[in-house]
């Protein structure tokens, strides 16, 4: 390797390493802002903003869904392994919405500690299987614990 080539290689390598370090620092500094949603335990723990709109993500707790007969108001509880937050929403729910499903809702906490949502999105998981396999794999625990795929690794 000639001298010029070695110098250019050092230059390109140095540029890359410097840039990677800068990006890593910037992303670590902004990591709160990159979070798409807060989890119920973070909201109960007071980590979520109180007077502004944000997103909450969790599983719809089994047996918690209540619908009104005369309008579109739905009440349910979103939970992770440690805590749960009551949510109310008026509008059309995505097709995947059901008990045990991962949901991301956008809205604001009211004074009663209820989350008033004006948008509800479904988050599906990374598992794909046919209905018979899903039936065979179903366990009877019926927990509403957050599966690992809903949690960002900190």
């Amino acid at each position: 390797m000639t001298r010029t080539r070695r110098r250019r290689l050092m230059l390109v390598g140095g540029l890359f390493v410097g840039l990677a370090a800068a990006t890593a620092l910037a992303l670590t500094a902004f990591s709160e802002n990159i979070l798409y949603f807060y989890q119920p335990s973070e909201i109960v723990g007071g980590e979520a903003p109180t007077h502004t709109r944000f997103r909450i993500g969790g599983l719809v707790e089994t047996g918690s869904v209540e619908r009104n007969n005369d309008d579109l108001l739905v009440r349910f509880t979103l939970a992770d392994c440690e805590a749960s937050v009551p949510v109310q929403f008026r509008g059309t729910l995505p097709d995947l919405f059901r008990e045990g499903q991962g949901i991301v809702a956008y809205g604001q906490l009211n004074d009663a500690g209820q989350f008033v949502a004006d948008e509800v999105l479904a988050k599906h998981d990374e598992n794909y299987m046919s209905p018979d396999v899903a039936e065979a794999m179903k366990d009877a625990s019926g927990t509403s614990c957050m599966p690992s795929n809903m949690q960002a690794k900190r």
């Binding site: 988050k123 046919s130 209905p131």
Partner: protein
């Protein structure tokens, strides 16, 4: 190292790239058709998403190639900057529109999938946003190439942008693990228990391999065109056309 120098010779590359491209095209198209057909028709329905999950047979190979394409451009870009290899410069420029097309396809199919499943066409979560930035990086390489008149300085600028932009690739890949996102986590590259049934996974792997071979074919073909244009005043190109 002798073969490398020979391959670096432009007329030699022009001659051998044609049969290589065709050798990639035939199995590539066959595998892609086999995989996509197997996924759209033969694979079982998903327990949760029904038939809608089948769009992943286009979405996942496209998304894979958007990352693979940019990484290969960055490697070629580094080679072009350090060794001033003309073929590496041409690769960066030739792969950009192919990679941009696959990135666009990944974004569009993801959007079409998101509407019925998530309930929205688009969200600004970490995965979707970083993939959109990747599309802009591809478009940036293409625009840069067209904006600078001298082919050598244009190629060098494109190579530099490829090397710089490759930082985005690991961010896209790990975005679903580092941050809470609406997009789900990785299925295929997950270690341990496979997250997908074999009858569904097999056509997906065939489609991904087929799309990858097609990427090689299209990029090589575009390299040949770029090469002819850049060397249009040289004797060997004139000879190619007078012989034809």
């Amino acid at each position: 190292m002798l073969w490398l120098h020979r391959f670096g010779s432009l007329p030699y590359f022009y001659r051998v790239s044609r049969p290589i491209a065709l050798a990639l095209a035939v199995p590539g198209v066959l595998l892609a058709v086999y995989g996509v057909y197997g996924g759209l028709v033969n694979a079982p329905v998903d327990y949760q998403q029904g038939d809608a999950f089948r769009i992943l047979y286009i979405h996942v190979p496209s998304a894979w190639l958007s990352l693979f394409g940019y990484t290969s451009m960055a490697i070629a870009g580094a080679v072009a900057l350090v060794w001033r290899l003309k073929l590496a410069e041409i690769f960066v420029v030739a792969a950009a529109p192919v990679g941009a097309s696959f990135t666009f396809l990944a974004l569009v199919t993801g959007s079409i999938w998101g509407k019925p499943m998530w309930g929205t066409w688009w969200v600004w979560d970490a995965r979707l946003t970083s993939e959109l930035i990747l599309l802009f990086l591809y478009l940036g390489v293409i625009a840069l190439h067209n904006a600078i008149e001298s082919p050598r300085s244009a190629a060098r600028a494109c190579a530099l942008l490829s090397v710089v932009g490759v930082i985005n690739v690991p961010i896209i890949h790990f975005s679903v693990e580092w941050w809470n996102t609406l997009h789900q986590g990785p299925t295929v590259t997950r270690f341990g228990r496979p997250a997908m049934e074999m009858a569904m996974l097999w056509p997906l792997l065939c489609a991904a391999l087929g799309f990858t071979l097609m990427f090689g074919w299209l990029t090589l073909w575009n390299m040949r065109a770029q090469l002819l244009w850049r060397e249009r005043r040289s004797r060997w190109v004139k000879k190619v056309f007078s012989d034809a």
